[in-house]
């Protein structure tokens, strides 16, 4: 993503908007500090958030700028197939969380996902997931920090050290002061900023392209391949679509394991819903989040598609973008796929609007750091420090530990950011690391919630085996890419197929198999060990728990009604772009 020259520069009016945002987030940190005195307030925002706030924060925690820019680039590279990551790769899981899983998280009064594992499977599973999660979050926060600094350098020519330290100090201040509450307020702000800052690009783009039908025709004419504009009809084979994916990978790997793993067991997002003020709000929050998530492709995927035919140089020639790190990008000053969103911003947004767009990107990065670091401080304080190091401290002591762990978490993140700066490939590894853990974790949590016979030993060994299997598969592919053919169950796959699938499909199948290993080992070990007494499962497992009425009095208050509405719209959208 390195360029010799910056894309644009900010006018004074843009700087004013950016400064306004910084002033507001710092003010919010100091403002909410007064109401952040207990551990429940610091780590779970007092469980006082309405369904709308928890829902927007839930979807916003995932709407990081790295995501936005990466998927806009993926849409440019692979076409409309990238939308799967926002639709089937998110919505069903979010609805499942709201309808099926949330009651158990909420009734058990757990403060974290590792906390639920402790209640259900004991200390072993909690320790393993807590340590892995804490480790991952500080690394991810560092990756976000470095990415923000890099984007600011590429787009605006800012010094990398300056951007990193300003971002890190601001986030550390507002999370340390206000905990999850301040992180949630900033996530809601970020959500609104992203809509305000980015929605104008697809609107103006569609006007310039002459509407959706005309855009489709132009893209197919330019790419010479209708597959760029179809969601499902081209993924019957690895070789007939630009992404090299197969529908089994999309449905089972992405739509089931990865998506359910991320949206239902990644504490970073689940923590937002746990802050809801009652069971109905906790169930509605993911459903509200899913409705907004469904429209994110409008300002992420659509700009990537628009760029395929509208991004032109001053002479009117279409600008071709290239992969990061390619010869054209590194040696010839060409732009990379990931720059497509900033390039479209610069194309349409003049002074003021550009400042708003850049502020939205900065807010996205900072909120990504804040989300990770607030989840880190919760898991560290509750599930590591409070569970193994100092079990009997006062509530005030744990709040103080939460504040200190925020600062230490940010310091480690800064260290990670510098590490990534030294070797960019570390960034890919960190992102891969996250996937090692999430798919098997989903296997453990879902069996824990839905299957009474799962035992403590089954949960722990299943989680360990699934994680080990995921790491094993990753190492096998790192050692020899040809090993991918076993993961996709095509032992005779050609070198060309392997090359096509290695970027995307390999991750989907690794997640799928590691989940299967986790489930298989959990089931086998559970049957080999003594069943847990029914009484110990109350409030934790389906069948042993009476789920209280959520308080909805009419159809429009029922989470299930809105889940069906969202599912129907999702179905229609998929049919439309079949």
């Amino acid at each position: 993503m390195m360029l010799a020259t910056q894309l644009t520069h900010l006018a004074p009016v843009d700087v004013v908007i950016l400064l306004l945002y910084f002033a507001m987030v710092i003010f919010i940190g100091f403002y909410v500090k007064g109401s952040t005195n207990t551990s429940e307030e610091f780590f779970l925002a007092g469980r006082e958030m309405s369904a709308w706030i928890a829902g927007l924060s839930f979807v916003s925690a995932n709407l990081g700028s790295l995501e936005l820019m990466g998927w806009a680039g993926a849409a440019y590279q692979y076409g409309i197939l990238a939308t799967h990551w926002y639709w089937i790769g998110a919505i069903p899981a979010m609805l499942f969380l709201g309808i099926v899983m949330m009651p158990f998280y909420y009734i058990s009064k757990t403060h974290s996902v590792p906390g639920y594992l402790q209640l259900r499977f004991g200390e072993g599973a909690r320790g393993l997931s807590g340590v892995c999660f804490a480790f991952m979050t500080v690394l991810m926060s560092g990756v976000n920090m470095y990415s923000m600094a890099l984007v600011m350098k590429v787009v605006l020519g800012w010094n990398i050290n300056f951007s990193m330290w300003v971002g890190a100090i601001t986030v550390a201040i507002y999370v340390m002061l206000g905990g999850l509450r301040s992180a949630i307020i900033n996530e809601v702000l970020q959500f609104v900023l992203i809509w305000a800052g980015a929605a104008l690009i697809p609107i103006l783009g569609l006007i310039e392209a002459g509407g959706w039908t005309s855009l489709k025709a132009q893209i197919i004419a330019r790419m010479g391949d209708p597959a760029y504009m179809h969601l499902w009809s081209t993924i019957g084979s690895f070789d007939t679509n630009p992404m090299g994916v197969h529908w089994t990978g999309i449905v089972f790997g992405l739509g089931f394991v990865i998506s359910f793993g991320y949206w239902t067991t990644d504490f970073l997002v689940v923590q937002r819903v746990l802050s809801a003020n009652n069971l109905r709000a906790a169930r509605l929050a993911p459903i509200i989040g899913s409705a907004f998530k469904m429209f994110v492709p409008f300002f992420v995927i659509l700009p990537g598609l628009l760029a395929l035919v509208l991004l032109k140089d001053s002479a009117g020639h279409i600008i071709q973008l290239y992969p990061d790190g390619s010869d054209m990008v590194v040696n010839h000053g060409a732009h990379s796929f990931n720059e497509v969103l900033p390039l479209m911003m610069v194309r349409y947004l003049g002074p003021g609007l550009l400042g708003l767009g850049i502020t939205a990107l900065v807010a996205g990065f900072m909120s990504g750091m804040a989300g990770n670091v607030s989840a880190f401080s919760t898991v560290w304080t509750y599930d590591i420090y409070g569970a193994y190091i100092n079990k009997k401290a006062s509530d005030a002591h744990y709040v103080l530990m939460g504040r200190w762990s925020t600062i230490i978490g940010m310091a480690v993140s800064v260290g990670t950011a510098y590490l990534v700066m030294g070797a960019a490939s570390i960034m890919d590894y960190v992102q891969e690391l996250f996937s090692f853990f999430i798919a098997p974790l989903f296997g453990t949590v879902i069996l824990g919630m839905l299957w009474k016979r799962a035992t403590k030993a089954g949960g722990f060994w299943g989680l360990l085996a699934g994680t080990a299997a995921s790491i094993g598969m990753w190492l096998a592919v790192l050692h020899d890419k040809a090993n991918i053919r076993f993961m996709i169950l095509e032992p005779h796959a050609s070198a060309d197929t392997i090359l096509r699938v290695q970027a995307m499909a390999a991750n989907l199948y690794r997640a799928l198999w590691s989940w299967c290993v986790c489930v298989l080992v959990t089931v086998v070990v559970s049957y080999m060990t003594k069943p847990m007494p029914e009484a110990s499962l109350t409030g934790l497992v389906y069948g042993s728990t009476v789920i209280p009425h959520d308080g909805s009095t009419n159809l429009f208050e029922k989470p299930m009604f809105w889940a069906i509405v969202v599912a129907t719209v999702l179905f229609v959208l998929n049919l439309w772009l079949w």
Binding site: L20, T38, R181, R347, L349, P351, G352, Y382
Partner: protein
């Protein structure tokens, strides 16, 4: 380790989350709207500047932000 406090920050505290949203949108909206007026005489070198996006978007944000600022202003409950 828990001491629940029954205070709803979106209603009982003096400043609600939606108020922050309103103020930020209003402030940005006014700035962009003013820039949009200026651009009628000094158009920027962007594509489709003839549609005056800053003027219209700024106006929309001002209305949105203004509504939220007033609706959730401190002390309104």
């Amino acid at each position: 380790m828990t001491t629940p406090h029954h205070v709803d920050p979106s209603t009982e505290q003096s400043l609600s989350i939606w108020f922050f949203v309103g103020v930020l949108m209003l402030a940005c909206g006014v700035i962009i709207f003013c820039e949009g007026i200026y651009e009628f005489s000094h158009p920027p070198a962007t594509v489709l500047a003839n549609l005056h996006p800053a003027f219209w978007w700024g106006l929309l944000m001002t209305l949105f932000g203004g509504f939220y600022t007033i609706r959730f202003r401190p002390g309104k409950g």
